[in-house]
C-alpha cells in the first residue's frame, strides 16, 4: 500500500515531472469548493440559531 513512494524528493513530488501545476491546481480548487460546501450549512445553522435566540429573548 504505502511501501514505495513514487518520487525522489519533495520538490520532485511537487513538480510531478512537469504535470505539477495541473495536478495540484485540480486538487486545490476541488478541496476549496468541497470545504466551502461543508462550511456553508454549518455557518447558516449557527446564524439561524443565533437569530432565533435573539427573537426569543426579545419576547421573554
Amino acid at each position: 500500500m504505502f511501501e514505495n513512494f513514487q518520487f525522489d524528493s519533495l520538490a520532485d513530488f511537487m513538480a510531478m515531472s512537469g504535470h505539477g501545476p495541473y495536478v495540484w491546481s485540480a486538487y486545490g480548487i476541488s478541496a476549496l469548493v468541497l470545504f466551502y460546501l461543508a462550511v456553508l450549512p454549518l455557518r447558516r445553522r449557527r446564524e439561524f440559531l443565533a437569530t432565533l435566540n435573539e427573537q426569543q429573548s426579545e419576547e421573554a
Binding site: M1, F2, E3, N4, F5, Q6, F7, F13, M16, S17, G18, H19, G20, Y22, V23, S25, A26, Y27, I29, S30, V33, L34, L37, A38, L40, P41, L42, R44, R45, F48, L49, L52, N53, Q56
Partner: protein, 247 residues
C-alpha cells in the same frame, strides 16, 4: 406493500425525526468520509504508480472520476426525492430535493473543471465540444435550472412541483452522459472501471480510486444531510420543536 411504504415515509419522513436522527450520524460520517478522502488522496498522489502514457497528470483521475460519478448519482437522488415529494406530498423529500441541487451543481462544475485541467496536458486543450463534456455541461444547466426555479416562485406549493418535474425530465440526460463515450467515440476516454467485465486499469491504480469513490459517496451524504438540516430549520422555524432547540 404500497401502503406500507407510504406509512413508513409518513412516520419516519418528518423533518423533526430527520433532524434528530442525523445529529447522531454526523460526527461518524464526517470522520469516515474525511479519513477516506485524505487516505485516498495521499495514496493516489504519492504511491500509485505513474501512468505509462499520461505520466503524472493521470493522478487527477482520483478526484475527477468520483466527483463525476457523484454529480450524476446526485441528480438521480434529487429526481427521486422530487418524485417522492410529488407522489406522497412529503415535505422532507422536497427539502432533500432543493438541498441536492446546489451540491450537484458544485460537483458538476468540479467534474468539468478537473476534466478541463486534465485535458490540457493530455489532449492539448482545456475544452472541446466532445459528447461527454457537452452532456455534462447540460447536467450543470439542469442543476442551475432547478436552483433558479426553486427561487422563482413565492408559493412553496408551486415551486416544489416545478422543481420536481424539471428534475424528473432531466433524468434522460444521465444515461446519455454515461453512454456518450461509447456512442460517440470522440475524445473522452471510455470508462476504465466496468461493472460487467474486466476493468482496464492496473490494480495498484484501482485500489486508491475505489477508496476515493467510497470516500466521496460518504462525503456527498454528509453534505446532503448538512444542507437538508439547514433547509429544515429555515422552513420549520415557527414550529415548537425548532424553538425548543435553544434553551
Amino acid at each position: 406493500m404500497w401502503q406500507f411504504i407510504k406509512k413508513w415515509f409518513h412516520r419516519f419522513g418528518t423533518p423533526r425525526w430527520f433532524y434528530h436522527t442525523t445529529s447522531r450520524w454526523l460526527p461518524w460520517l464526517a470522520l469516515v468520509s474525511i479519513g477516506l478522502l485524505v487516505l485516498g488522496s495521499i495514496w493516489g498522489l504519492g504511491f500509485a504508480p505513474e501512468d505509462a502514457r499520461q505520466g503524472n497528470s493521470y493522478r487527477i483521475i482520483y478526484i475527477h472520476v468520483p466527483i463525476s460519478v457523484l454529480a450524476m448519482v446526485g441528480y438521480y437522488i434529487m429526481a427521486a426525492a422530487g418524485a417522492v415529494a410529488l407522489i406522497w406530498k412529503i415535505k422532507l423529500a422536497d427539502m432533500v430535493m432543493v438541498s441536492a441541487a446546489p451540491i450537484g451543481a458544485a460537483f458538476t462544475f468540479l467534474a468539468l473543471l478537473t476534466g478541463s485541467i486534465w485535458g490540457k496536458p493530455t489532449w492539448g486543450t482545456y475544452w472541446v465540444w466532445d459528447a461527454r463534456i457537452t452532456s455534462m455541461l447540460v447536467l450543470l444547466f439542469l442543476y442551475l435550472g432547478v436552483i433558479a426555479l426553486n427561487q422563482a416562485f413565492t408559493s412553496r406549493d408551486t415551486a416544489y412541483k416545478a422543481c420536481a418535474i424539471l428534475s424528473l425530465v432531466g433524468t434522460v440526460n444521465i444515461p446519455i452522459i454515461y453512454k456518450s463515450v461509447d456512442w460517440w467515440y470522440t475524445l473522452h476516454q471510455p470508462a476504465t472501471i466496468k461493472l460487467t467485465g474486466a476493468s482496464t486499469i492496473h490494480p495498484d491504480m484501482l485500489k486508491p480510486l475505489l477508496v476515493m469513490i467510497v470516500g466521496f459517496y460518504c462525503f456527498y451524504a454528509l453534505l446532503l444531510i448538512l444542507h437538508t438540516r439547514v433547509e429544515i430549520l429555515r422552513r420549520e422555524r415557527r414550529s415548537s420543536w425548532v424553538k425548543g432547540l435553544i434553551r
